[in-house]
């Protein structure tokens, strides 16, 4: 393994699903993720944002090795993920899911939920595993007394702590957090976000943080990848993206964040009024053009190519060679 390589890297990763049931229905391709290239450096928090249906959860599944890409390749420390043993991947990359109700098996005790990864990889003796479970429970703020409780006895926030404990049990390096707080109440969301921040510093973790909540993303992330209809349309540091959004979609997303500041009132979002397009039948050219306030003729004709704009990646006809040439 190459120590200098990014800990995770996607090169032109695509994933297409064929939609349609039965032998007589013509299947349509759903391009959930298209040509996504991004890298994740050790110790950073990479956020992936976008509306529902933009492909962020599919990307997460591919990063976890649960879903093979249908095009391109994911590299883990410079080695193709497809060549790495499934078990080796699972020891180093672990997930935290959105819904703490569906992510814990209702028929199992916390002890057996948290120790599942240890059991699968046969790490340590049963006593050592139990000790590890207790240790990790304390780390995420769960009292030892709950060891033999069931998920149904816990609140949403407590369950999410269990999910985090399970992910951390085998000491992974990367956590892929897919909307880890969107099912939680605001006060509990803050508890979990703080816990994630502290664990990252303490255990030197790398996060892939997927969310639709831009306020949370801005708070948590060091770099941000914005996705729209399967494509990566803007990718840069949090400062670049949030302080000076370039892509019209990123601006629109930032405009629609509602913070508890009564002086601002409701944002005017005019062209975004169009509905999110059907992913089975995406618009031609740039998929965002029907909703884009700055759409030009070229936008409906040609797919913009990714361009480097002062160290950030942008996929928009407003930037890159075309405009540079004009």
């Amino acid at each position: 393994m190459n120590a200098d390589a990014p800990v995770l890297e996607c090169r032109d990763v695509s994933r297409t699903f064929m939609i349609g049931k039965g032998p007589f229905v013509q299947k349509k391709p759903l391009r959930a993720v298209q040509d996504v290239s991004l890298s994740i450096e050790r110790g950073e928090v990479l956020a992936v944002v976008g509306e529902s249906g933009c492909g962020k959860t599919t990307l997460a599944k591919m990063l976890l090795g649960l879903l093979p890409p249908s095009g391109g390749e994911i590299f883990f420390e410079g080695v193709p993920l497809s060549s790495v043993d499934r078990n080796a991947v699972s020891r180093r990359i672990q997930p935290v899911f959105q819904d703490p109700y569906s992510s814990l098996n209702p028929r199992k005790t916390l002890a057996s939920i948290i120790s599942l990864p240890l059991d699968v990889h046969k790490i340590g003796t049963p006593e050592e595993r139990k000790r590890r479970v207790e240790e990790i429970m304390e780390l995420v703020g769960l009292p030892r007394r709950l060891l033999y409780s069931y998920p149904s006895q816990l609140s949403g926030g407590q369950r999410q702590r269990v999910a985090i404990a399970r992910a951390l049990a085998i000491k992974p390096e990367i956590l892929v957090c897919d909307e880890p707080t969107s099912a939680l109440d605001v006060s509990v969301q803050a508890q979990i976000l703080n816990l994630l921040q502290e664990l990252r510093e303490e255990l030197n973790l790398t996060y892939v943080f997927i969310s639709h909540n831009l306020a949370v993303v801005e708070h948590m992330s060091s770099r941000v990848a914005v996705m729209y209809l399967g494509r990566l349309i803007e990718f840069g540091t949090a400062a670049q993206v949030f302080d000076d959004p370039k892509h019209p979609y990123t601006s629109a997303l930032l405009d629609s964040v509602l913070t508890p500041e009564p002086q601002y009132g409701l944002p005017e979002i005019t062209t975004m009024g169009r509905e999110f397009p059907n992913p089975l039948n995406p618009p031609p050219g740039c998929a965002f053009h029907p909703r884009c306030p700055k759409a030009m003729d070229v936008c409906s004709q040609a797919q913009p190519q990714p361009a480097d704009e002062n160290g950030r990646l942008l996929e928009c006809h407003l930037y890159g060679e075309e405009t540079a040439a004009a």
């Binding site: 609140s155 801005e218 708070h219 964040v257 500041e261 002086q263 409701l266 944002p267 999110f276």
Partner: protein, 353 residues
């Protein structure tokens, strides 16, 4: 129970006035006090937001007003008046003549709130004809007019479509248009944008605000999202564990919150440009208490940084600060503001480290 909400003034013009409302629900384990001593009112052209976390009783409050609670719930109130008429003394028949007619309600999940086996047109016409506003043809014209109003293109062809053929955002627009069919004076929207994407959320809220102005309605918006509340509300009521712990105008509540719960809740939310990136957020420890059984003292005391011995006994009186401004806590207003400044300063220091 002594009632300290009876003296909060409201005008005779108020569309909806509620004072001292309790909702108790019989559950196997006992009685669940879902709403206790609740008081609010809303006038024409005014937006009241009821905000709180899950299980705080905000949805129960709205269902109680609509008369849509299940049979195991009991509503009592000193005042529960809609357009000056007492709702509690009305029969189910009289109530259902008001519902969908003078008051409309919009629900959280547009995917399941429309009947899947009937067309949009059928469901929109039905509410019009049922309340005797006209015949089917007139209902159709009105439906087309309203669908256009809520920003739906090709309105006439939409009437023949079924709910599953529309996206979530469109369905919520249909729902809004449907509830406007009979020119209601009050719209209650229960988490109308929670199930939608952020960009769609902003549009729907805009639409609601615009329509409210145009039709001069009263709007009660129920949500857990403080961002939504801050941007759309005229007045705010913060609920916790069945109690309205703080009320006031949007500016008052967000700029000078008094109740430790409100203060904590606002500090939980990262604000781009204000909250330092990567710093720890303010947080409220612990979880919401169970509401089954007898209650005493402040329901928030177990999670409160400023809890004292007096918080555990008796009824916590509402402190009135103005005509509509008030909060339910033993801490006085000066001390409350001082506490807020101190905890924010402390957070700033922690972030600076």
């Amino acid at each position: 129970m002594t009632n300290d909400t009876a003296n909060i003034p409201y005008s005779d013009e108020s569309i909806l006035a509620v004072r001292g409302m309790n909702v108790d629900i019989r559950v196997p384990a006992g009685t669940l006090h879902a709403v206790t001593n609740s008081a609010f009112h809303v006038d024409r052209g005014e937006t009241l937001c009821i905000v709180g976390e899950s299980g705080c009783g905000k949805s129960i409050t709205s269902l109680a007003v609509m008369g849509l609670l299940p049979g195991n719930a009991t509503v009592t109130a000193d005042v529960l008046k809609f357009e000056g008429r007492d709702l509690l003394s009305m029969s189910q028949k009289q109530l259902s003549a008001l519902r969908g007619n003078r008051m409309g309600m919009i629900f959280q999940d547009p995917m399941t709130s429309l009947n899947p086996v009937y067309t949009i047109g059928n469901q929109m016409q039905e509410i019009y004809v049922r309340h005797g506003k006209g015949n089917a043809a007139q209902a159709k014209d009105r439906a087309i007019y309203l669908l256009e109003k809520v920003g739906i293109t090709a309105a006439e062809s939409r009437l023949g479509q079924y709910p599953h053929q529309l996206s979530g955002g469109l369905r919520q627009r249909v729902m809004i248009a449907m509830m406007l069919m009979n020119d209601p004076v009050l719209i209650i929207a229960d988490e109308p944008t929670t199930a939608l994407d952020v960009t769609i959320q902003a549009q729907i809220l805009h639409l609601l605000a615009d329509l409210q102005k145009e039709f001069n309605m009263a709007l009660i918006l129920i949500t857990h999202d403080l961002g939504v509340v801050a941007r759309i509300a005229d007045r705010v009521a913060v609920m916790y564990a069945g109690y309205m712990v703080e009320t006031g105008s949007s500016d008052e509540v967000f700029n000078a919150p008094m109740h430790p719960y409100t203060q904590g809740l606002i500090d939980c939310i990262p604000i781009p440009g204000k909250t330092e990136r990567g710093a720890l957020l303010g947080s409220i420890p612990g979880i919401v208490p169970a509401l089954v059984g007898d209650q005493e003292g402040c329901m928030f005391r177990n999670r409160c940084d400023f809890a004292q011995e007096v918080c555990g006994t008796g009824i916590i009186e509402r402190k009135a600060l103005g005509e509509q401004r008030g909060y339910r806590c033993v801490i006085g207003p000066e001390q409350a503001q001082a506490n807020l400044q101190a905890s924010r300063a402390q957070a700033a220091v922690a972030a600076g480290e």
